[in-house]
Symmetry: C2
Subunit: 182 residues, 2 copies
DNA sequence: GACTATACGGAGAGTGTCTCCGTTTGGCAA
DNA sequence: TTGCCAAACGGAGACACTCTCCGTATAGTC
């Protein structure tokens, strides 16, 4: 890739990060291009769709997911606490941008989604939690990681849309946890 | 209201019902106006926003909700079956239009939403199910109808976004039910 | 320094939202 | 019946966003 192309690509990602944080996932892509100081054509050449751009700005986020699940799994304690701890972390992780929870959760299990890699990172992290709980025989049978992602993602989506705070989200996560634990 | 205004209002509602069914909740409002045979100005005078229009086309749906909960409560059987039966009915009721689950669930508990009356109808119906289960001491403590609506609405939203079928939705609803039952 | 593949930029086509204002009409009073 | 006018209509058009096309600029190579 030519040096100017590389530079513009990075500028676009940085601009998108800022604009999406300020205005949410629905922000105008022309605004992103303008913030980056490039033309619309340049933006669309690098990132043919909004989702591809989203995927790119989430690279550093992948590391954060993996760090987060490591940290959660470190914690010794009751299975219910572990599970709830992961659920709350999960909600935080997918709620970094307005509209994020819906976007990520609807792509979960869709092989052709442009953000499939991000979903896989989340699913694998969740699988590690499932594995740990199964070792301890703490989970009911037939509980799959993808179901966990969908349920908790559903709660995060509702919370995102309705501006619910953590206090309102907590009891919803508890219901899900109790429904999954043996 | 003048007779022509009344007539146009009804035409618009009928047209919106058709267009939303065919094209989903995101369909162009100009398309609705055109289908109704009126100008865009007439549409926006009657219905200042998409949500207000949605609210209007859902009038008959209110009756359907009430019929549905009556029918579910008639059913004798285990509490778990009753609860799951209501959950599946609930998902069907709010999934009549693409985008409906997110719209309805995010407005749940928001007094200023244009579709607040529809949310209340759903919440009251769900409350009747909660009351019945509490009579039978089948429910855990501190379970509120609005939480039920949010959890099941979250599942419906995910299913709507990700095109999940009933078979994929069922186990998610089971987790929620098990998390709520004593 | 010249060449060319690569990348850039922004005008503009396509689409949707919503408003404004000149025109039409329903309903009433005389 | 007729005349009046408040109420309602309609659609052009301003504005916003997405995405493409193509003339222009330039990075990298020889």
């Amino acid at each position: 890739m030519r040096a100017d192309a590389q530079r513009n690509r990075e500028r676009l990602i940085e601009a998108a990060r800022e604009v999406f944080r300020e205005q949410g996932y629905d922000a105008s892509l022309d605004a992103v291009a303008k913030r980056a100081g490039v033309g619309a054509g340049t933006l669309y050449r690098h990132f043919p769709s909004r989702d591809v751009l989203m995927d790119a700005i989430m690279q550093s986020w992948v590391d954060r997911v993996n760090d987060a699940v490591d940290k959660v799994l470190l914690h010794e304690g009751a299975p219910r606490d572990l599970l709830l701890s992961w659920f709350e972390t999960y909600v935080d992780l997918i709620s970094m941008h307005k509209g994020g929870p819906a976007k990520i959760t609807s792509a979960m299990g869709d092989e052709s989604s442009p953000i499939v890699t991000k979903c896989q990172v989340l699913a694998r992290a969740t699988q590690r939690v499932v594995d740990r709980l199964e070792e301890e025989h703490a989970l009911r049978e037939h509980i799959e990681a993808v179901q966990m992602c969908r349920l908790v993602g559903g709660v995060a989506t509702v919370a995102d849309n309705a501006d619910l705070d953590r206090a309102a989200v907590r009891p919803l996560l508890e219901v899900i946890a109790d429904g999954m634990l043996a």
